[in-house]
């Protein structure tokens, strides 16, 4: 059932033993150490182990992603949720290897950890090997299709270019493939529209074209970075349906990155909630939705507009603003904004960073100092009734 099992921490944590990681050290429970210290290749399709992406700036080191681990099987969908600056997009670009490709000048992103795709580790691999995987094995859909498509080239040219990078075919064959893909993503008169420029398309059609481009090589992993944010609500639903249909057809694994819980509610099998560059909660989608185990997730659920809710009620925003990624708050990164920061005893939220621990049941994890009982009580008595 679950696709996410691995903890991104170095400290012992109460996790169930992942059946795929092979031999564990004698300590048995130190999953973070297993993941980080070059343990055997996982059998999972995609496994990210202790990923860190740091950017040096004049003001200090920006820790955009600071120790993230997860796992994804083929044909499954993982939703990564979080507010702006939580490290969602940086994670996806990290998997694509786009932090190291095309870096000029002296300041380079510092990336550590492991990314395993189909038994191949990507971060330590030859950049040109990773480049060959990009677009063929891993493809990506970007947030704003207008700026993500080159304004001076026709849609068809851009799609067939993506095909020809990885297939040694003539322009005519690639063009036919482009028409076929445009047809597949529901663009009317694809044989004519293939010669259109991006500015001649509507927003929804552009995103369809973008999807056509990303799927042209039948990638095994599709990363959709806020694929519907720039679109109308009605178009959003169409695009999400399209992604779901195509996923069934192509059998790809999909990572959907969004700040909109409504988007992942429809699509994702598993959810990963990010805050301040780390995972604060993850688990099967229905568990995270109906028995959320982290105050930040409660906040996200409370700030989500819902049609079934009384319209006179106000949305409850998460108080405060996202943390600085240079000076991440000590202890639990969420504690300055957490209404329940005082619940655990001895100020532990302010001094000690909470590790991902099993919470609830069935591969559901949360990084919160509160005890299971405290969380359950607050959720059922204080939060859930208001939603």
């Amino acid at each position: 059932m679950t696709d996410i099992e691995k903890s991104g921490t170095a400290k012992p944590a109460k996790l169930d033993k992942p059946e795929t990681t092979g031999d564990l050290p004698a300590t048995g429970t130190a999953l973070g150490e297993v993941a980080a210290a070059g343990s055997p290749a996982p059998t999972a399709f995609l496994e990210v182990r202790d990923l860190k992406v740091h950017f040096p700036t004049d003001d200090g080191l920006v820790k955009s992603v600071d120790g993230l681990s997860f796992r994804l099987e083929k044909g499954k969908t993982l939703g990564i949720v979080g507010e702006s600056g939580s490290g969602k997009s940086v994670t996806s670009l990290g998997i694509m290897g786009l932090h190291t490709a095309g870096q000029y000048g002296r300041r380079k992103a510092q990336i550590s950890g492991e990314i395993w795709l189909n038994g191949q580790e990507l971060l330590g691999a030859d950049p040109d090997e990773v480049r060959k995987l990009r677009g063929r094995e891993i493809a990506m859909i970007f947030q704003d299709p207008l700026s993500a498509l080159h304004p001076y080239y026709t849609i068809g040219r851009q799609i067939s270019e993506a095909y020809r990078v990885h297939h040694d075919v003539t322009k005519d064959v690639a063009r036919k493939r482009a028409v076929e893909m445009l047809d597949r993503v529901g663009i009317p008169q694809p044989d004519k529209r293939v010669d259109s420029y991006p500015h001649e398309f509507s927003g929804g059609m552009r995103q369809r074209a973008m999807i056509a481009m990303s799927l042209v090589n039948n990638p095994e992993l599709l990363i959709a970075d806020e694929p519907t944010t720039a679109l109308d609500v009605t178009v959003q639903a169409q695009i999400l349906d399209l992604i779901r249909d195509l996923q069934k057809e192509f059998g790809s694994a999909v990572i959907i990155i969004t700040h909109d819980l409504g988007v992942v509610a429809e699509l994702a099998d598993d959810l990963l909630v990010m805050y301040g560059g780390r995972c604060v909660e993850r688990g099967p989608a229905e568990k995270v939705f109906y028995e959320p185990q982290h105050p930040y997730t409660w906040g996200l659920l409370g700030s989500m507009p819902r049609i079934d809710r009384d319209q006179t009620e106000r949305l409850i925003p998460v108080k405060g603003s996202p943390p600085s990624l240079i000076n991440i708050p000590s202890g639990c990164a969420f504690h300055p904004r957490c209404p329940y920061a005082d619940v655990p005893k001895d100020n532990i939220t302010r001094t000690e960073r909470p590790e991902l621990r099993e919470a609830g049941s069935g591969n559901h994890f949360s990084a919160c100092h509160m005890t299971q009982e405290e969380r359950t009580r607050i959720w059922t008595e204080e939060i859930a009734p208001k939603l």
């Binding site: 677009g135 063929r136 493809a139 704003d144 993500a148 080159h150 001076y152 026709t154 993506a162 420029y197």
Partner: protein, 319 residues
Amino acid sequence: MMLLVVTLTTFAIFFMIPKWAGSDPALLFVGKQSDPEAIEGIRQKLSLDDPLLVQFWHFIEGLFAGRDYANGNDVTHCPAPCFGYSFRTEQAVWPQLTDAMPVTLSLAAGACVLWLVGGVTAGVVSALRRGTLWDRAAMGVALAGVSLPIYFTGLLSLAIFSYQLNWVDVDYQGITDDPAMWFQSLILPWITLAFLYAATYARLTRATMLEIMGEDYIRTARAKGLRERVVIGRHAMRSTWTPILTLLGLDLGALLGGAVLTESTYNLPGLGRLAVTAISNKDLPVILGVTLMAALFIVVANLIVDLLYAVVDPRVRLG
């Protein structure tokens, strides 16, 4: 159409200014020691007593159909396109223009190619090696290029490469006469003129390139798995050309100004030098002719740039 307006304006200005300034074209034509009779004769011959519009009509007519200058029985036919005769040398203006035009065109075209290639290349390399020694050096040279006037770099290069080292001979030869000599005589002026402009293009290209490398579609291009060479050459460069073309359109117009200095420095018999000589001699017909040629040059250059725009940016294309 635009050309006609430019012609009209130029002509009006050049006919009005001497009047306001109180100098008489006829007097200029004849020279200082002249008797009133001769002046009157010239007046008739150039029909300077006619109203301005009629004079203008004669001028336009002369451009397209040729024109007869008559003073009694003394008739001079000036075949089309007739720009009149130089006050100073009494030579027809048109042949002077046609002699000078190829020189200026050679200079401008060669320099243009040189600064585009040099400036854009330097800009791209600088952008891709941002912050490195190469970048700083290139931008430093670019700053020098913008700051140093032509008569400084020109004379300096002339002194070093021609007089001291004797590498090149700067006596101008037409391209049809002797291509090798033509090239040799123009190489220094090209470099001098290009140096001035290349600096601007290097800086513009660098700034544009840096901006474009941060665009989403560059990330998309990389996400496709394209080689970095293709990402830069095909995707980034394509967008870089638009602002470069815009600047080129403006610069081609102003280029003649640079050509004046370069031609004077290197003693090239081009339009610029012709203009300078004509102005210092108050040789109105020649000034008029050069100005019209310059206007034609600007209009044609802008037309070409506009057409190129449509080629480069599909969003500009109509229909």
